[in-house]
Amino acid sequence: MIHHPSLTDPAFFSRLDNLELRARGIVEGFLHGLHRSPFVGFSVEFASHREYVQGDDLRHVNWKLFARSNRLYVKEFDAETNMNLHLLVDVSGSMECANTGVSKLTYGTTLAAALAHLALKQHDAVGLTLYADEVLLHLEPRAKPHQLDEILRAIANTKARPKSDASRALHQAAELCRHRGIVAVISDFFDELPAITAGLDQLRFRQHEVLAFQIWDRWERDLPLDGNICFTDLETREDITTHAEGVRENYLRAVNEWRGDLQKQCLNRGVDRIELTTDEPLDQALLDYLVHRTKV
């Protein structure tokens, strides 16, 4: 389990504030850009009227307004939900890759924070699980406002673990995520494919809607390097020296082949895999989340 930092650590609070601000900024900016709120639904809390269209439930027609204006309007309500969002964040050593300025871990934790903020804003219960070769920290999903603070504090205190065991860790996480909901796995998934699929199977077995956010460093995906390079493995610290341009073609072929296999396994299990690189904005990730939320 991850140890809790001292509450008097200025760096911790500084990092926390930044992460919260960053998450808020991302979410608010994302919502502001939407023309129509995608998560407005039918609930007990009135939100607005709209014109009736064929197929609308007649129970939601505002008859009084019809009497006054002789036009059919239906009432819309803010959705009330008790959906659970489980954030599973990979903190293994490979997530420390930061060749383009932002590490995958930072990018992933930011994404997790943004999703948590977005979910809590809709009164969803959000939980957090940090894992590497095992589950390092687990927060049960709650919809309380201070849940975000708990999540942010846990994320900010995160440090990568060198080893990775996706099968074991996801299995443990599936055991911990008992309430059905959306499971957002934020990882680079750089592990053996059977281990990953075994973990995803465990999550799917628990009836979770699984979102696989695969975080890439641009250099890992495209290897845009030239010259004699000494490559160091972030988990094993193994060094390989080679000419990048000489191996690029075969490397990309191997990576794409692996991506294709992973995509195929995800599709077979009804898992949506969303690829993100650390130099991309998080809008697409949030939008994907919302789309999946409507399915639940």
């Binding site: 490979s94 890759c97 060749n99 493995d233 490397y251």
Partner: protein, 703 residues
């Protein structure tokens, strides 16, 4: 074998280390990158590890090869000749050693100057240059010829010495032909020819010569002097070389004045004397004897004073006194100091000897009659041949009817013996006859009806037969004819000329069939392929068998016009007349030219066998046992007129380089100009190919 002209550029091959250093440098200078996807990289590298290793070494080899080829390109590679033991260049030096090269020049004799310049040329050549050096006059005398190993380097320089005295005539054609053969046989490489000569015009007028190969760079070193003061005896002729004792003769001498100014009262001296009798025990029989003029007997000296105009030839006649028996040798000399003393005298000889005594033996009895076997033979031997220079017959026959029972007389008094259809020669006579032949006497045998195997048993035992004697072959319907003969043999050489008659017209009714012995030579044969004339060497002498009769029993050929010359040739061969007679004048250049052709027939000639072919290397009179040889220099050599360089070039279809260029400089120039055997362009192509391949491999090679 490849070699390089600019070997210093090969030091640039040390730059081969540059690719290695670059490789090591960039290996140390690496950028460190942390990735989480090393496992993909590892898979990729493990997949092609062997291929990449091969490609890496190939790439390194290509880069090192590129540097090596670049160094080789600048070093100007060329092919050397493997056939000459690695020699790449050829330097041919021809030094004129004709008699006129003894002319005094600014620094000694011309031949000495030529040798000195030739030595400098050799010393200035590179170590891989093959040098072929030859002196030439009327023949070519290569240094290191005669089967010796070719000298090289210092050995060649040590052997390159100017001859003390030379008497040869100039023959540029022989020298150019020799040089051409050397150049043609030499593989690719720079070929240079240096000719050191005085450009004597008379040396041009010889046989046609194939031109030098086009890639030969010829240089002319003209050492001659524009004006030469020369007075020469160009010819001495006696109307008869062989006179009877007590007869007289005369000498005609031609005096040439090659100088620019007329000469008054030039003294011309003729001296002649009899050569003392040769002492058989003093020297070997086959070794020539040169008699000093001071030791001549009955010496006579005649002196004439003549006026010589420039370029004119004056003819003088000297009457000889009555000559007693023996060999008379003499000389005509001009007593005038000039630039070329070698041609100031010329030799002659006259033999005052009786006719060759021939013992003609026939198997009949009684005095000679028209029915006698040797009637026509004796008559033919007593007659003189039409083209002989003497009026009397060279033979003095003595007829011996062996059927009377008388034995042979002392054969030492005869030069040759003829047996005509003689049966059953007594053993004592056969033994004497064999001894006579072995000591150098000649034996001519005609067969006939009495000559059978049994009848010639004594001759066979004495070793005087030429094979096994079989039956007599008698023509039934058509007569036998001569079908072929050795046209190069001295007996048949003049008879092979159709203008002298056709031996095929002779017909024979019968002949004695003889199976030739192993050491016998068939000189002529009938149309039945049976031998007609056979020869066999016995000791110093020769036995010649004619397998038909000399009388009219088997043929009427003794009554034809061909009988006399044929018989004279047969007996003349036995006594040495067919090889030149008792006095054989010759010119030194003619001897050299005929030496090769004469070599074949020398083997079958008794007299020539005792005469070395190349004995006549100095002018003079040499006395052999049965003849004398008079050797004089060629009158061509006395003509000191020079040809121009252009005439020489046109004559031999060559083009000289600038003759003002020193030989050493010419040798140096050969390393600067483009050589035809260089292959730098191929190296450049290889360089380009390696460059392209390096790029191709480099783009596909990972570390």
């Amino acid at each position: 074998m490849p070699d390089f002209l600019q070997t210093s550029f090969l030091l640039g091959a040390a730059a081969i280390a540059v690719p290695i250093l670059i490789h090591l440098f960039f290996r140390l200078k690496t950028k460190r990158v942390e990735l989480g996807t090393i496992r993909f990289l590892r898979v990729v590298l493990e997949e092609n590890a062997r291929r990449r290793k091969v490609m890496r070494w190939l790439l390194l080899a290509l880069r090192m090869g590129f540097v090596a080829l670049l160094a080789a390109l600048f070093a100007r590679p060329f092919w050397t000749a493997a056939a000459t033991g690695g020699d790449r260049d050829l330097l041919v030096i021809l030094i004129d050693q004709s008699a006129t090269m003894q002319l005094k020049g600014d620094s000694g004799r011309l031949i000495d100057q030529a040798v000195a310049e030739a030595r400098r040329s050799i010393e200035s050549t590179g170590r891989n240059t093959r040098c072929e050096v030859a002196f030439f006059d009327h023949a070519v005398h290569p240094i290191g010829a005669d089967g010796e190993r070719k000298p090289d380097g210092d050995a060649l320089l040590r052997r390159l010495q100017a001859p003390e005295v030379t008497f040869g005539a100039t023959n540029f054609g022989a020298a150019i032909a020799w040089a051409r053969d050397i150049c043609v046989k030499s593989p690719a490489g720079a070929k240079r020819l240096h000719l050191f000569t005085d450009l004597q015009r008379s040396g041009l007028d010889w046989t046609e010569v194939e031109p030098l190969p086009a890639d030969v760079q010829a240089s002319l070193h003209d050492l001659g002097k524009p004006v030469v003061n020369n007075v020469a005896v160009t010819e001495v002729r006696t109307p008869r070389l062989w006179v009877r004792p007590g007869e007289s003769s005369s000498v005609r001498a031609s005096i040439l004045h090659g100088g620019a100014f007329a000469l008054e009262e030039v003294s011309v001296v003729m001296e002649v004397g009899r050569v003392p009798e040769r002492e058989p025990s003093s020297t070997q029989a086959n070794q020539p004897v040169v008699t000093d003029f001071a030791k001549l007997a009955e010496r006579i000296t005649r002196r004439e004073r003549v006026k010589l105009e420039p370029g004119a030839t004056v003819v003088l006649d000297f009457e000889l006194p009555t000559l007693s028996r023996g060999l008379w040798q003499g000389r005509v000399a001009v007593e005038h100091p000039d630039d070329l003393p070698f041609d100031n005298q010329r030799y002659f000889a006259v033999s005052a000897t009786p006719a060759h005594r021939v013992l003609v033996v026939h198997g009949g009895e009684g005095p000679t009659s028209p029915l006698t076997e040797t009637y026509f033979l004796e008559a033919a031997l007593r007659l003189s041949n039409d083209d002989a220079e003497f009026t009397d017959s060279p033979f003095l026959p003595t007829v011996l009817p062996y059927g009377d029972g008388a034995g042979f007389p002392t054969l030492a008094d005869f030069d040759a013996v003829v047996l005509a259809n003689v049966p059953a020669v007594k053993d004592a006579d056969a033994a004497q006859l064999a001894a006579f032949v072995r000591s150098g006497g000649g034996l001519l045998v005609f067969t006939g009806d009495k000559v059978t195997a049994a009848a010639t048993a004594s001759l066979d035992r004495a070793g005087l037969t030429v094979g096994s004697i079989d039956d007599v072959k008698i023509a039934v319907d058509l007569p036998w004819r001569l079908n072929g003969w050795d046209e190069r043999h001295p007996i048949f050489q003049p008879l092979s000329d159709p203008q002298h008659g056709d031996l095929r017209r002779l017909i024979f009714a019968a002949y004695t069939d003889i199976a030739p012995a192993a050491d016998a030579v068939v000189l002529a044969e009938f149309n039945t392929k049976a031998p007609a004339v056979l020869e066999r060497r016995v000791g110093q002498g020769t036995v010649v068998w004619v397998t038909t009769s000399c009388g009219r029993e088997w043929s009427d050929w003794c009554r034809t016009a061909l009988f006399l010359p044929t018989v004279h040739q047969l007996l003349g061969y036995e006594v040495g007349l067919t090889s030149g007679g008792r006095v054989r004048p010759q010119l030194m250049d003619a001897v050299a030219i005929a030496a090769g052709e004469a070599q074949a027939m020398v083997e079958s000639q008794t007299q020539r066998a005792s005469q070395p072919v190349d004995a006549a290397d100095t002018p003079g009179v040499r006395q052999f046992e049965r003849f004398a040889e008079v050797t004089n220099i060629s009158p061509r050599e006395s003509e000191t007129e020079r040809c121009t360089r252009e005439e020489f070039e046109n004559r031999f279809a060559l083009r000289f380089a600038d003759d003002e260029t020193p030989a050493s400089l010419m040798a140096a120039v050969g390393n600067v100009e483009l050589r035809h055997d260089e292959f730098w362009h191929w190296v450049a192509c290889a360089l380009l190919a390696v460059l392209l391949l390096e790029g191709f491999v480099g783009n596909r090679t990972t570390a």
